[in-house]
C-alpha cells in the first residue's frame, strides 16, 4: 500500500523564482494538507484541499497557492521566493468527511527540501 509520495525530494532556487511541489496522497485518502517545517521547529499549516477546493488556510501570504486534481493529487506553488521560504515542505493526506471538519489522522510524506539562495 503506497503511502504519501512527494516530488522532488530536494530543490534549489534563487530569490524571486517560482516553484511547484507535487504530492500524491495515500491510497483511499481524498484530503491533502500542506505544511512548512523550518529546521528545529514543528510543521506549520499552510492549507488543506478537499474535493478540489481550498478548505482552510493558515497564516501564509498569497504567494503560496495550491491545487488539487480529480485524482486527489495536489500541487503547492510558491511565487516570488524569499530566503525565508527555505524549509521542508510536507504533504499530508487523510480521509475527509462531508462535514467541514474531519478529525481523521493525517499521514505525511517525506517532504521536499527547498533551499533558496
Amino acid at each position: 500500500d503506497a503511502g504519501v509520495t512527494q516530488s522532488p525530494t530536494h530543490l534549489i532556487k534563487t530569490r524571486g523564482q517560482q516553484v511547484t511541489l507535487r504530492c500524491s496522497p495515500k491510497s483511499g485518502h481524498d484530503t491533502v494538507s500542506w505544511y512548512q517545517q523550518a529546521l528545529g521547529q514543528g510543521p506549520q499549516f499552510i492549507f488543506q484541499y478537499y474535493e478540489e477546493e481550498e478548505r482552510q488556510r493558515g497564516n501564509f501570504p498569497d504567494r503560496f497557492s495550491g491545487h488539487q486534481f480529480p485524482n486527489y493529487s495536489s500541487e503547492l506553488n510558491v511565487n516570488a521566493l524569499l530566503l525565508g521560504d527555505s524549509a521542508l515542505y510536507l504533504c499530508a493526506s487523510s480521509l475527509g468527511s462531508t462535514g467541514w471538519v474531519s478529525n481523521q489522522p493525517q499521514h505525511f510524506g517525506d517532504g521536499t527540501r527547498l533551499s533558496i539562495l
Binding site: Q41, G42, G58, L90, V101, P105, F108, D110
Partner: protein, 114 residues
Amino acid sequence: EDQVTQSPEALRLQEGESSSLNCSYTVSGLRGLFWYRQDPGKGPEFLFTLYSAGEEKEKERLKATLTKKESFLHITAPKPEDSATYLCAVQEGNYGGATNKLIFGTGTLLAVQP
C-alpha cells in the same frame, strides 16, 4: 492563542531506562491530539490519536495518555531504534470554531544509547 508546548526539548536515555515525554496544550476545545515520530530527513510518522480525557493508546513500547490539559508519551524499556524526534499536535474543535489544521509543538529529541 492556541499553543502546544513539549518538554523536555531533548532527552537522553540508556537502553531499558523508561521515561515520559510531555505535551501541554491550550485550545478552546480539543477535537483530537496526535503523536508522531520523525526521523532525520523524513516526514512525521503517525503513532496515535487521542480524542478525550482519560483515553490511552499503546503500541509496542509506547503508551500515550490524555488529560484535559496535557498528554504523555510513556516509553517503556526503550531501544536505540526508538531514537527520533517525537512531535505532538492538536486539532482544535468546538461548535464555534472547529478547524482541520494541526498545531504542532516543537518536539522532543530522544536519544537512546545502547
